[in-house]
């Protein structure tokens, strides 16, 4: 049941007015998040500055290198699970040799960017939100503003650069490992020779599959940064607020990534 009070709009006289208030507040938050990331995007030429490039490199290290262990495990097992499931079905029709093509197409087009984005949203996105949220509630962001240091240039832009550059590279890494994982299963469980697996993998995939997947990954990186930095910089309410910002970052990122993934698939293949 809808509760008038839950919309935090005491001056709203009806339920519809409260809904309208909520829609406006939501639109305002989306606008602020988009504006924040757009500002960071426009500041990207500054990333080569002497004093900021170290921070950019550090963020690339945190996003890229630090994510490799978990991505390695996830990618290998995703490829293995997918090869096993599709291979068992294909085996019924005597088509198990085609399993390489199936794994490659699905990874390049959908699962590679999607799995990578989920891992990065949960690890890097939540970490960004928690760090910026803590800085906000402990007045470190205000301190930067008073020192005339633009938080968007100093904090948001390096993270955006790191996510935009690392997401396609990590997706590529995920794809390669997933295909390799599929090859292990194809050889050991389905009796498909490595050469046959690779022939179908390379033969069926097109350049468009690779490029569309990498473009998706870049878009997902943009989304993760937008959600995480917005949630962090607009944190309110101390430690509880930081927890809310971190949780919201993961949940909202997942949802927006899923919806954007569908829209991009429709654009490329619809």
């Amino acid at each position: 049941m809808l509760n008038h009070d839950q919309y935090q709009c005491p001056e709203c006289e009806s339920m519809f007015a409260a809904w309208g208030h909520q829609v406006l507040a939501f639109s305002q938050r989306v606008g602020q998040a988009v504006l924040l990331n757009t500002r960071a995007l426009m500041m990207m030429p500054l990333m080569f500055g002497k004093r900021i490039r170290g921070e950019v490199a550090h963020q690339m290290f945190l996003t890229g290198i630090k994510s490799l262990p978990v991505l390695t495990v996830v990618a290998l097992f995703t490829g293995m699970i997918f090869a096993l499931q599709t291979g068992l079905v294909l085996e019924d029709y005597g088509q198990e040799a085609e399993v390489g093509g199936g794994v490659t197409i699905v990874m390049l087009r959908e699962m590679g960017p999607f799995m990578t984005a989920l891992i990065i949203a949960a690890s890097v996105g939540s970490s960004i939100a928690a760090q910026l949220g803590t800085m906000t509630v402990s007045e470190e962001i205000s301190a930067l503003e008073i020192m005339s240091i633009n938080p968007v240039r100093f904090l948001v832009m390096p993270r955006l650069v790191a996510l935009l550059t690392m997401m396609p590279l990590l997706t590529l890494y995920t794809n390669v490992l997933a295909v390799a994982g599929g090859a292990i299963i194809a050889r050991s469980q389905l009796g498909v020779e490595l050469q046959a697996y690779l022939d179908t993998a390379v033969g069926i995939a097109r350049n468009k599959d690779l490029y569309s997947g990498l473009l998706k990954a870049t878009c997902f990186g943009y989304i993760i940064n937008m959600v995480a930095c917005y949630q962090g910089l607009y944190t309110k309410g101390g430690a509880v607020g930081v927890g809310v910002a971190t949780r919201s970052t993961v949940v909202i990122s997942f949802l927006v990534i899923l919806i954007t993934g569908f829209i991009l698939t429709k654009v490329f293949y619809g």
Binding site: R51, E139, E140, S142, A143, E145, I146, M147, S148, I149
Partner: protein
Amino acid sequence: MIRFENVVKEFSNRPVLNGFNLHVHKGETISLVGTSGAGKSVTLKHMVRLLTPTSGDIRIDGIRINDLNGDELDALRSRFGYLFQSAALLQWMSVFDNVALPLRENTKLPEREIEQKVNHVLDQVGLLPSADKLPANISGGMQKRAGLARAVVIEPDILLYDEPTSGLDPVTSRSIDELIHQLQKDLGVTSVVVTHDMISALTISDRIAMLHQGRVLEVSTPKEFLISENEIIRGFLDSQCISPSFFDEFPEKVLS
């Protein structure tokens, strides 16, 4: 130098500053005291435009700052040093890098000159041996001193202190008071101190302003403040066991 003219600030239709008037003179140290929620920290944040008044004017050297933006706002803020209640040091940087940050970001000074300036202020606040430590690895008092070093390294005209002694033990609090007073003497800056700590306010201030319900109740010298007959001020002093003969009982407390 800093003038609040009938300033009103509302949060969700609730006034925190309500017809607030205050004039801070150049070169003086003024303390803003009062109970929690009286509007002390909000007043401080208006001075550097972290907050914008709902109505009324704030002027610094006659210039209305309500609508400043961009470079003008940066120019205004470059005149201020601000010590936050939590010190607000960046946790991933060493004490040295925290203090060097405003110089590295806002000036074109060579690194060697920055190093000299930072070492000088760290020496002033007694933190030179801890320059390489991270904020998490030093005590609360040391963090406040590091925050103070960061505030003064840019050689500001105006220093703002938000609860400089809160959360510190009495001995460390008094050392912070002495440091504030010493910096005031050395740099000759205008200082505005927000505090609950009446001993601190009495010892470092030229004037004390008592805030109550978003307005200035009374502004007076520390000696006048001690003998004020205002009931709210008397209650505030009594709550901290400070008698009208404070300076006679503790003459060593007179710093300013």
